[in-house]
C-alpha cells in the first residue's frame, strides 16, 4: 500500500467533549503531519458526536471523518473495529494514532491485526525517520525500567499514546477543515458485545488527574487508616490522594486511585510520595510531575533519585507534623 498518506487520529469524546488525550494526540499528529508534509485527519466515532468536528479542527486537524450512529453509543470492540477498518481502508493513512485509554488499548491491537499491520501501545514519544518516513515509536518496557524504540514497515503504522506524553496545540477556532460523514454500515446482528451497566466510582473532592497537588501513599502506609491521614493532608493542600499498586491490591485504597504503569497517569505541580519506594512501575504514572517530594525512611529508596525535596524518616510522625505546620503557615 504505497499510496498510504497522512496521519489519522482516533478521537475520543466523553460527555460531548473532546477528551484531553484527543487534544494531545491532535497536537502530536499535527507535528508528524507537518514533518511528513501530509494531511492530519481525525476520526470521530460515536452517537451524537458530529458537533465535535469544529473543535477537532481547532486543535489541528485538516479533515474530520465522522461516523455517527446510535449503535456506536457505547464502546464495543466488534462495532468499533469494524468502523475503524472501514474508514482506514477508505482513507489509507500512513499513521493511525489512538490514546492509551480503556478504548485505545482494546481497539488498537485488534484493528491493527485486522488491517494486517502492527501496533505499539502506550508510547511516550513519536518521531519520523526522515530516510524511510517510518514512525519511530518510543515506549517504556520492563515495567518502566527501560525504553524501546520500535518501527514497522507495514501500513498504517498504529500506535497508542500515553496521557500527558504529548502537548496539545492552543485551539485556533479560525482554522479551516473539511468534514466527511461516513456511514457506519453496521449489521446489528454482527455486534455481539453488550454493555449492561456502567459503574462510576465515587470520587470526593478534586479529580486525581486534574489535581495540582497529589499525595500518594505506598506499601509502607501499612493499612487503610493511613490513607485517611493522607486524605486529610490532601484536603489541607487542596489536592487529591493517589496510591501505588500494592495498597490497591491489598484493598487499603480503591483501584481507581492507583497511579502507575497499569493505573492512572498524573503530572501535578506537586507530587508528595509518602512511603513510596519509587519502583519503575509506579514512576511510569507520575514521573511527569513538576516537583516530587519524597518521604521515606529508607534513605536509599529509589524515589529520592527522582525527587526535588526529600525527608528521611517515619511518615507516621512526619505527616501530622507537616500538616500542622502547613496549616500554621497558611493561617499567617
Amino acid at each position: 500500500m504505497a499510496d498510504n498518506k497522512g496521519v489519522m487520529i482516533f478521537v475520543e469524546v466523553i460527555d460531548g467533549k473532546l477528551t484531553n488525550i484527543a487534544q494531545e494526540l491532535l497536537g502530536a499528529g499535527r507535528k508528524l503531519a507537518n514533518d511528513l508534509s501530509e494531511e492530519l485527519s481525525a476520526l470521530i466515532v460515536g452517537s451524537g458526536v458530529a458537533n465535535i468536528a469544529p473543535e477537532a479542527i481547532a486543535y489541528g486537524a485538516d479533515k474530520i471523518y465522522v461516523v455517527d450512529a446510535p449503535l456506536l453509543k457505547d464502546y464495543r470492540t466488534d462495532a468499533y473495529v469494524a468502523v475503524v477498518e472501514k474508514v482506514v481502508k477508505q482513507v489509507n493513512p500512513r499513521i493511525l494514532l489512538l490514546g492509551q485509554t480503556t478504548i485505545g488499548r482494546d481497539l488498537a491491537p485488534r484493528a491493527a491485526c485486522r488491517l494486517i499491520t502492527g501496533a505499539i501501545l502506550d508510547c511516550i514519544a513519536l518521531d519520523i525517520d526522515t530516510a524511510t518516513k517510518q514512525l519511530l515509536i518510543t515506549k517504556p518496557v520492563y515495567g518502566g525500567n527501560a525504553r524501546a524504540v520500535y518501527s514497522m514497515e507495514t501500513l498504517p503504522q498504529v500506535a497508542t499514546v500515553r496521557a500527558k506524553a504529548m502537548t496539545a496545540l492552543v485551539p485556533d477556532s479560525s482554522r479551516k477543515g473539511q468534514v466527511v460523514i461516513v456511514d457506519a454500515g453496521l449489521d446489528p446482528a454482527a455486534i455481539k458485545t453488550n454493555v449492561l451497566q456502567k459503574v462510576v466510582a465515587e470520587t470526593t473532592g478534586i479529580k486525581l488527574e486534574d489535581a495540582s497537588v497529589v499525595v500518594t501513599g505506598g506499601r509502607g502506609i501499612g493499612g487503610p487508616e493511613g490513607f485517611k491521614q493522607l486524605e486529610e493532608l490532601a484536603k489541607v493542600l487542596k489536592g487529591a490522594v493517589g496510591a501505588t499498586r500494592p495498597p490497591c491490591d491489598a484493598g487499603w485504597a480503591p483501584d481507581t486511585i492507583q497511579i502507575g504503569l497499569t493505573g492512572k497517569i498524573v503530572s501535578p505541580y506537586v507530587y508528595i510520595a509518602v512511603a513510596v519506594s519509587g519502583a519503575s512501575q509506579h514512576m511510569a504514572g507520575c514521573s511527569g510531575s513538576k516537583n516530587i517530594i519524597a518521604i521515606n525512611r529508607d534513605a536509599e529508596a529509589a524515589i529520592f533519585k527522582e525527587a526535588r525535596f526529600g525527608v528521611v524518616g517515619d511518615w507516621k510522625k512526619i505527616i501530622p507534623a507537616f500538616e500542622a505546620k502547613v496549616k500554621e503557615l497558611q493561617s499567617k
Binding site: 501499612g222 525512611r297 529508607d298 534513605a299 536509599e300 517515619d314
Partner: protein, 377 residues
C-alpha cells in the same frame, strides 16, 4: 544426593516465599516479638489450609505424605521470612515424636489436629542445668495408681504459653545410666499444678519456664515406652535439627542477599560500596559459608530421607550452620552499617535468630564433640 530441589520442591519453595512475603511481612514478625502469644492465628490457619502443618505426616493422619527434602524446602522459606509461631515446637518436636513413638490412638487423635491447626503442642526437655544431656533431666514422675505425679521445673520450653499439650520428659526410674528411666508424658496444659512463665528472649521467640507442681497425668498419656524415652527422643531431635538447619540456611541466605543488595545501592566516595574489593571479600566469604550450610544440610536431609546413617552429617550441619548464620548476619551488619542496626531494618532480626538458632538443640561445640565421638575419638 542432589544439589538442587526437584521441580515440585522448587514450586513449593517459591510458593512459600510469595506466601510469606504477603502474609508474614517483617512488620508482623516484629509485632510478634512483642506479642505474648507470638503466633498470629490467621497465618497459622492459612498455613494449615495449604497443607504445610501436616506436610511431613502420612496421609492417614491428615498429612501430606511429604518427605524430609520437601520439609527443608519449606523450612528454608520459613527462615527467610523469620516466621514466628510454634512450627518447630508443635509440628516437629511434638508431632514427630508422637508420629514415631505414639500409639495408633494417640496418633489418630493428635496428628490430624496439628495438621489442621487446631492443636498447639510443645516438648519440655531442658532444665536449669542448661544441657541437652540425659543427666540433666531431674524432673520426676512418680507412679500413683493409674497415674503419675510430675514434679519439677522445665526451662526454655518453646511456646508453652500457648500450648494445649506439653510433652514432658521426666525421670521415672533411677537407672545405671542417666539415659535409662526417662519417660515422655502428654500433659494437658490446663492440668492443675502447671505454672507457665514467659521469658524475655533475644530473638523474641517464646521460651518459658514450666513448673510442674504435683501434676497428675494418667498412665494412658505416656508416649512410647515407660523408662525408654531417651533413645526415641534423640532420634526425633536429630530429625528436627535437620529442619532447623534448613530454617537457618534460609535466614542466612536472606541476610547475605540483604547485604549484597545494600552494597549495590549504597553510594560512598562516588561509587557503590559494593565495588570495593573489601566488600567483595566479605560477600564472597559469606557466599561460601552459606553454600557450605546448604550442602551440609541437604546431605544430612538426603541421607535421613534415604534411611541411611547420618549422625555425622547432622552434627556437621548443625555445628556449621549455627555458626555460619551468625557470621553471615554479623557480616550483614558490617556492610549495612547504622541502617542495619536500627529497629526499622531487617538485619537485626536475622542477627538475633542466628544466635538463638545456634544455641537451640545444641551449639557448635556440642556438635563438634558429637562429631569427634562419631570419628572414633
Amino acid at each position: 544426593m542432589d544439589f538442587d530441589y526437584n521441580d515440585e520442591q522448587k514450586m513449593l519453595k517459591q510458593g512459600a516465599r510469595e506466601f510469606f512475603e504477603k502474609e508474614c511481612p517483617k512488620s508482623l514478625v516484629k509485632q510478634m516479638m512483642e506479642d505474648e502469644k507470638g503466633n498470629p492465628p490467621e497465618l497459622w490457619k492459612k498455613m494449615s489450609q495449604l497443607g504445610w502443618l501436616g506436610l511431613i505426616y502420612p496421609e492417614k493422619y491428615g498429612g501430606g505424605d511429604g518427605n524430609m527434602i520437601d520439609l527443608i524446602a519449606l523450612e528454608e522459606e520459613m527462615g527467610r521470612a523469620c516466621l514466628p509461631g510454634p512450627f518447630l515446637s508443635t509440628v516437629l518436636l511434638s508431632g514427630l515424636f508422637i508420629l514415631h513413638n505414639g500409639s495408633e490412638e494417640q496418633k489418630k487423635e493428635i496428628l490430624p489436629k496439628i495438621a489442621g491447626g487446631q492443636l498447639i503442642l510443645t516438648l519440655a526437655l531442658t532444665e536449669q542445668s542448661d544441657s541437652y544431656e540425659a543427666s540433666a533431666v531431674s524432673v520426676e514422675a512418680k507412679a500413683e495408681k493409674d497415674d503419675y505425679i510430675i514434679d519439677g521445673t522445665k526451662l526454655f520450653v518453646p511456646d508453652a504459653q500457648i500450648a494445649d499439650y506439653i510433652i514432658c520428659i521426666a525421670r521415672t526410674k533411677k537407672g545405671d545410666k542417666p539415659e535409662d528411666g526417662l519417660t515422655a508424658f502428654l500433659v494437658d496444659r490446663k492440668t492443675p499444678g502447671i505454672t507457665i512463665t514467659l521469658l524475655k528472649t533475644l530473638a523474641g521467640d517464646k521460651l518459658c519456664e514450666v513448673v510442674f507442681n504435683k501434676v497428675k497425668v494418667s498412665k494412658k498419656n505416656i508416649i512410647g515406652k515407660l523408662d525408654q524415652a531417651w533413645g526415641p527422643l534423640q532420634q526425633t531431635l536429630q530429625q528436627v535439627k535437620i529442619a532447623q538447619c534448613a530454617e537457618m540456611v534460609g535466614g542466612a541466605q536472606r541476610a547475605l542477599e540483604l547485604a549484597a543488595d545494600h552494597a549495590k545501592k549504597r553510594i560512598q566516595f562516588d561509587r557503590p560500596i559494593g565495588s570495593f574489593p573489601v566488600i567483595h571479600h566479605l560477600i564472597a566469604n559469606a557466599m561460601m559459608d552459606v553454600d557450605a550450610c546448604k550442602f551440609l544440610t541437604y546431605e544430612a536431609a538426603w541421607k535421613f530421607s534415604e534411611g541411611m546413617p547420618c549422625a555425622k552429617e547432622i552434627a556437621m550441619a548443625k555445628a556449621w550452620t549455627g555458626e555460619a548464620y551468625q557470621r553471615t548476619a554479623a557480616m550483614g551488619h558490617q556492610v549495612l552499617g547504622g541502617i542495619g542496626y536500627t529497629l526499622d531494618g531487617e538485619m537485626h532480626l536475622y542477627f538475633r535468630r542466628a544466635k538463638s538458632g545456634e544455641l537451640t538443640l545444641g551449639d557448635g561445640k556440642f556438635h563438634r564433640e558429637a562429631l569427634a565421638k562419631e570419628l572414633g575419638m
